[in-house]
Symmetry: C2
Subunit: 373 residues, 2 copies
């Protein structure tokens, strides 16, 4: 295998595929990139078993020759080293020359590296061929879907199903739901397709994919029984699905509320951030006290003291109410809504409440209160 | 105790004194600031026993009233909390009101915090009065002195004396020396004083002090038997000295060399940074191979491979020579010299070599080679 390749395009592929490389791979072979030069171009594949990413550097981009001087072939090269080396090189064209399937010579015409490499046939056989139900959408739509929901997924492995973002397509709608059981986020987008599927994709994977997609226009995904495949530009991402049934969440979301608070998002964020300095424990518990003519947030810690701050711009309708909650959850929810104002709808002191963008019904952020001090 | 104080000035004092607060203080009381309003202003003191920092917020700066509305007194307030709160507050004037020596009310006219506080008399009695031999110099001079030497001090506690920067004043010269036994850095500056003293100041303390001094014009230090005091602007820093005799280093620095290499600093830095990707172990061993018409750096790792890169702009005089070294040490030394070109003077393959700024004899960076592979 041999080729000369545009440095910038090679680096992009290494950066993309590198997102799948685990800091400490359980399988030593997966510390490598699989690098293959074939009729499609230079395929760079990285994997950690759960997620596999392949980006292909094409021979041509527009009129520009990207790859020249080729002898097809494939090899395995340490991902961390190859990425570091290409990143630090100063030349615009990198040549890669695999000698006797044992040494990969990487050269930019100035610095010269000889890297030990391994036989590509030892790499696990990972199927990246599209199959199953497919759906194509704007990358921006998928980005919104993920940004407004995936943060609410659990990061703990006790109940693996809760680390998923639940995707449900049907009736021209794609709904994403995430919950860690103390909060829930749901976002729906309209789709121009009548496909129906359900899939539990690791939330972390979807967040990574939205970062990889930056600058791409459209993404197609293929859902099958055990895995989902995303394709955009020259990149394919395959992810396992999380097995098991996703909890039924539709019935959890309350429909009727007794109290409505509308506030400026930034003012509430700042006030909670300040008073939470005095909340105790990891949960950053903050209390919001509301009556028609006064709203304030407060926090208290037995060892340190207490804090309170009035909210200056608000509309509140309902009886007097006090609700305590994990302020980090409310901060996440408000940030995800990306709205100048938010409406918080309460049923009662100890019942789940909803944080909404008053102008957008496609997102619902549900949060369970905490026992007040 | 009560006062209203300009937020910006208060925050500056809290940030300065906060530099002395240990993340986990061995003495719980030292997790607090001592805050005292007296005839000098508002004194904020932070300490971790090894280093104590006090910044005084004055009543007036120029024509501007900084502190108003005063009742003198003192108290102890959790440093981390007070710093966080004042940093997050939006008002320009902060009022501080200590009630019954138990609660400190902190208020910016909008947010209101009540912090548990403790009796100032419980704070350790730390002497911040100037005494001993004194020397005044430009802050910039002290900054250069520290920046070009202190990095070479040891960070390991096995030989505490090597964690010091050794300061030696005499004959209108102040010399700073640091060594971790594998490398040594020495910088001298001219002083307008005929004082004589020797002091082993923790190198870390001096680095912290140069950061605190930013924007100040002159610094005075007072050296006594067990401690050193630095004063600049409204800040006093007291540090313990490290006891024991500093190793005699003068005889270590070679005077005669057989090989001289002059190179562009940035080119050598970049080349070493690249090839070091393939050095093995923590030491980042790089070899430099020199002959009159060719100089190159290289590195090798048994498990990963090898790298080499020629240096394009150089002057070398001497026989053919190869020297291996910890490239991180050479990178530190070159960066400290802040010079476009550097001269490296060698005696022999396994003898210490010196990295110098060809235009400045006040700094010497000495490095011990490593066994070559």
């Amino acid at each position: 295998m041999r080729l000369s390749v545009d440095k910038e395009q090679l680096l992009k592929a290494l950066n993309n595929a590198g997102k799948a490389i685990a800091p400490k791979s359980p399988l030593p072979l997966l510390a490598n990139f699989k690098v293959e030069l074939n009729e499609k171009g230079l395929e760079v594949t990285g994997s950690n078993n759960d997620i596999t990413i392949r980006t292909t550097v094409p021979y041509m981009i527009g009129d520009k020759q990207i790859i020249t001087n080729t002898v097809p072939g494939s090899t395995l090269i340490n991902a961390h080293l190859l990425g570091d080396i290409v990143r630090k090189m100063e030349g615009n064209v990198i040549s890669l020359d695999v000698i006797d399937n044992a040494i990969a010579k990487v050269d930019d015409g100035h610095s010269s590296f000889k890297l030990n490499c391994a036989n590509a046939e030892e790499y696990p056989d990972i199927d990246l061929e599209p199959s199953g139900t497919d759906l194509t959408m704007d990358c921006q739509q998928l980005e919104d879907l993920v940004a407004q929901s995936a943060f609410a997924a659990s990061t703990k492995e006790q109940r693996p199903i809760l680390t998923a973002l639940n995707l449900e397509a049907g009736e021209n709608e794609l709904i994403a739901t995430a919950t860690d059981s103390a909060r829930l986020a749901r976002k729906s987008v309209h789709i121009d397709s009548d496909v129906r599927f359900r899939a539990n994709v690791p939330a972390r994977t979807l967040i990574d994919i939205t970062h990889l997609m930056e600058g791409s226009a459209a993404v197609t995904f293929y859902v099958s029984d055990k895995k989902v495949l995303f394709t955009f530009d020259n990149t394919v991402v395959s992810s396992r699905l999380i097995s098991g049934d996703y909890p039924v969440t539709r019935s959890i979301i309350p429909q009727n509320f007794n109290y409505f608070l509308q506030v400026n998002s930034q003012e509430l964020l700042n006030a909670m951030d300040r008073v939470a300095v005095l909340s105790s424990g990891k949960e950053s518990v903050v209390k919001i006290s509301m009556r028609e003519d006064h709203v304030e947030v407060s926090a208290r810690s037995d060892s340190n003291g207490s804090a309170n701050e009035p909210i200056q711009t608000f509309q509140f309708s309902g009886e007097r109410l006090e609700v305590s909650f994990n302020s980090l959850f409310v901060i996440d929810a408000i940030k995800a809504l990306k709205s100048e104002d938010v409406t918080i709808c309460f049923q009662a002191e100890m019942r789940p409440f909803v944080v909404k963008n008053p102008k957008d019904d496609s997102v619902i952020e549900l949060i369970t209160p905490m026992r007040t001090y």
